[in-house]
Amino acid sequence: MRLLVVEDEPDLLKTLAKSLREEGYAVDTAMDGVEGLSKARDWDYDAVVLDVQLPGLDGWELLRRLRQKRKTPVLMLTARDTLNDRVRGLDTGADDYLVKPFELEELLARLRALIRRGAGQGESSLRVGEVVVDMAARRVTRGGDAITLTAREYALVEFMVLHRGKVVTRTMLYEHLFDEDDNTLSNLLDVHVSNVRKKLGHDFITTRRGHGYSIE
């Protein structure tokens, strides 16, 4: 899952990005509205975390312009907690709304729900054969046994499961599992796929030669 965080407070941006990466997300960052908008338009992010008060271009304007092109799920962060602001946020096309200061866990939970809904998946738990992916708890079991996955491996599994029945290209995987700072030229993806197959069974991920991967 690849996220964009737009926040002008450097310390907060740094912490958010770090926490989200630790959750297995690929995280891009932007410190002002203009940079945020150009990234959000150019990439197909799974979700955007957007601060309202930004230099250059404020969050409302950024959201309005983004909506002309993309339906990326957007979670707004704001320091103003009035009904007006919330209504405005939701009316402008924000998918969720969080008031500063917030609990990190709440932000993470809301992002998980946002990404799930964005992929058209209401259930938080999905079964593929004997493998069950619990996206709320970020846990995977195989035949009832808990399987330990690294954050990146889990992100791969979750992305595949959310796009179940469709062919997921390598480009898509690169775009959604790695952020702008990762070296996408490496064969890291193959390593992750191979590790997941070792843990969840070789048939869990099917290779479509010349196209990519899929989960049936």
Partner: protein
């Protein structure tokens, strides 16, 4: 009920009623007294005339005079020929008065008009000489009457006159005043009735007037109540009336305007303040939660704690600045006015910023001419350090800051000029607003509260001075403070 009796309207009505009642009572009593007095005087004159008539008719000649001779015994004090009787009526013949018939006389001669008159005459030896038929059964205490100084006296419904001729004849003439007293009673009743109606009409009119007079007060208090209930936009309707109350309403409306503006400022300030505090709190919260989420290396903990510390320092800065502003708003600043040299204050305040300038590689150029001022040197030092601190903080590396103090014709000027990035034209009008941070400043605003210039403005204006900024993007900024030399 208590509230009602305390109401202005009720009090006005009560006073109005009391005054009206007092005036009417006084007027009525006066009218009654005058009528009674007039009636009495008329009766008394009648009694006198009747006394004369009785004297003439029943007291033998030579015993009539009242004048000469002491109260000694009777005696022919004047010869029949040269008699000059008193009163002089006999000269013109007996008074033209009919007397009620004597007792035992034929009742057919009774005259109705004379019903009310009665008389009795005693000879000096105490015998009744004559008595009218109309004499009441109960006679007055003659001895007591003789003692009294007045010629006439009232006894129940009777008005009586007792005269003694020098010769010792006692003449009692009385008048039954039933008719007059009844008339007076009727008058009293009609006065009371008229007074009552006037009082009622007066009270009703007063009530109506007070209703009219109080209506605008009601509308004022209703509006004030709605405002008190929280609708600050509410105003008193002053249309249509031009009087003292509409004047009051206008004054109140102006006050409400100012209150509303002040509340709005307060609300915006609170919102801004909470906004400014929310960001560092968020940093602390997410940093600490993220750090505690899993085992971390000492370096990571250190970094998290560093971030938290920075955020906490920023909060401290905001809180301190807000306190300065709040105190400034409360007008506390005017308390410690004294004479001081602006150049000296500027030098001291700037000296504290040398290390910051060194760290930023910014050179400070001071050109301080002494200029005496009256004011609060500590607060003006805050102005200096805010302006110079900004000039250093937002400067380029290797830049310069010039600080000048001058005496310019009755005013003290403080000029702070920098080689920073300048301020965007759109930001210029707002940079003295609380919590406003210019676009270019935002990204470098670390540790700055956004209150510094607002504080400067507030302090300078409290000293009766002005603060201005001139700036062009890319060419730095010039802040000029002008203070009146007291």
């Amino acid at each position: 009920m208590k509230g009602f009796t305390r109401s202005l309207r009720w009090q006005v009505q009560a006073w109005h009623g009391a005054i009206l009642l007092a005036v009417l009572s006084a007027f009525g009593s006066m009218a009654l007294l005058i009528s009674r007095d007039t009636a009495m005087r008329r009766v008394d004159q009648q009694l006198q005339r009747y006394t004369m008539a009785v004297v003439i008719q029943y007291v033998p000649r030579g015993f009539r005079g009242f004048g000469r001779g002491g109260p000694g015994g009777p005696g022919p004090e004047s010869g029949p020929g040269r008699a000059r009787p008193f009163p002089p009526e006999p000269r013109r013949g007996p008074p033209n008065l009919l007397l009620p018939p004597e007792e035992g006389a034929d009742p057919q001669f009774e005259e109705l008009e004379l019903d009310t008159i009665y008389y009795r005459v005693w000879s000096p030896d105490g015998e009744v000489v004559t008595s009218s038929t109309t004499i009441p059964e109960a006679l007055p205490d003659v001895e007591a009457l003789l003692q009294s100084k007045t010629q006439t006296s009232q006894r129940g419904i009777y008005r009586e006159s007792l005269r003694v001729t020098p010769s010792g004849f006692l003449i009692l003439v009385g008048h039954n005043m039933e008719v007059e007293l009844a008339a007076l009673r009727r008058l009293a009743w009609s006065l009371a009735a008229a007074g009552g109606s006037v009082l009622f009409l007066g009270l009703a009119g007063g009530w109506w007037l007070s209703t009219r007079a109080i209506r605008p007060i009601r509308s004022i208090s209703a509006a004030a109540e709605r405002i008190a209930a929280g609708n600050l936009a509410e105003r008193i309707d002053t249309a249509g009336t031009q009087n003292e109350l509409s004047e009051l309403a206008r004054v109140l409306n102006t006050t409400f305007d100012r209150l509303q503006a002040s509340f709005a400022r307060q609300a915006r300030f609170t919102a801004d303040a909470s906004h400014e505090l929310r960001t560092p709190v968020t940093v602390i919260l997410t940093q600490s939660q993220s750090a505690l989420k899993q085992e971390r290396s000492p370096e990571e903990y250190r970094e998290a704690l560093d971030d938290c510390q920075r955020a906490a320092r920023r909060m401290r800065g905001i809180i301190e600045q807000m306190l300065v502003l709040a105190r400034q708003d409360a007008g506390e600043a005017d308390r410690q006015l004294r004479q001081f040299d602006l150049a000296e204050v500027t030098r001291e305040a700037t000296a504290l910023l040398e290390s910051l300038a060194g760290a930023k590689d910014v050179t400070l150029h001071l050109d301080l001419k002494p200029v005496g001022l009256k004011g609060d040197p500590e607060r003006l030092a805050l102005v200096v350090s805010n302006l110079v601190g900004n000039a250093i903080h937002y400067n380029r590396s290797g830049g310069d800051v010039w600080v000048e103090t001058r005496d310019v014709g009755g005013s003290a000027s403080l000029v702070v000029r920098d080689t920073g990035p300048g301020i965007h034209e759109a930001d210029l009008p707002r940079i003295f607003d609380r919590f406003y941070r210019a676009e270019l400043a935002r990204s470098r605003a670390e540790g700055r509260s956004g209150l510094g210039l607002a504080i400067c403005k507030s302090i300078v204006e409290a000293h009766g001075g002005t603060i201005e900024v001139r700036s062009r993007e890319g060419e730095g900024s010039v802040f000029t403070v002008m203070l009146p030399v007291a």
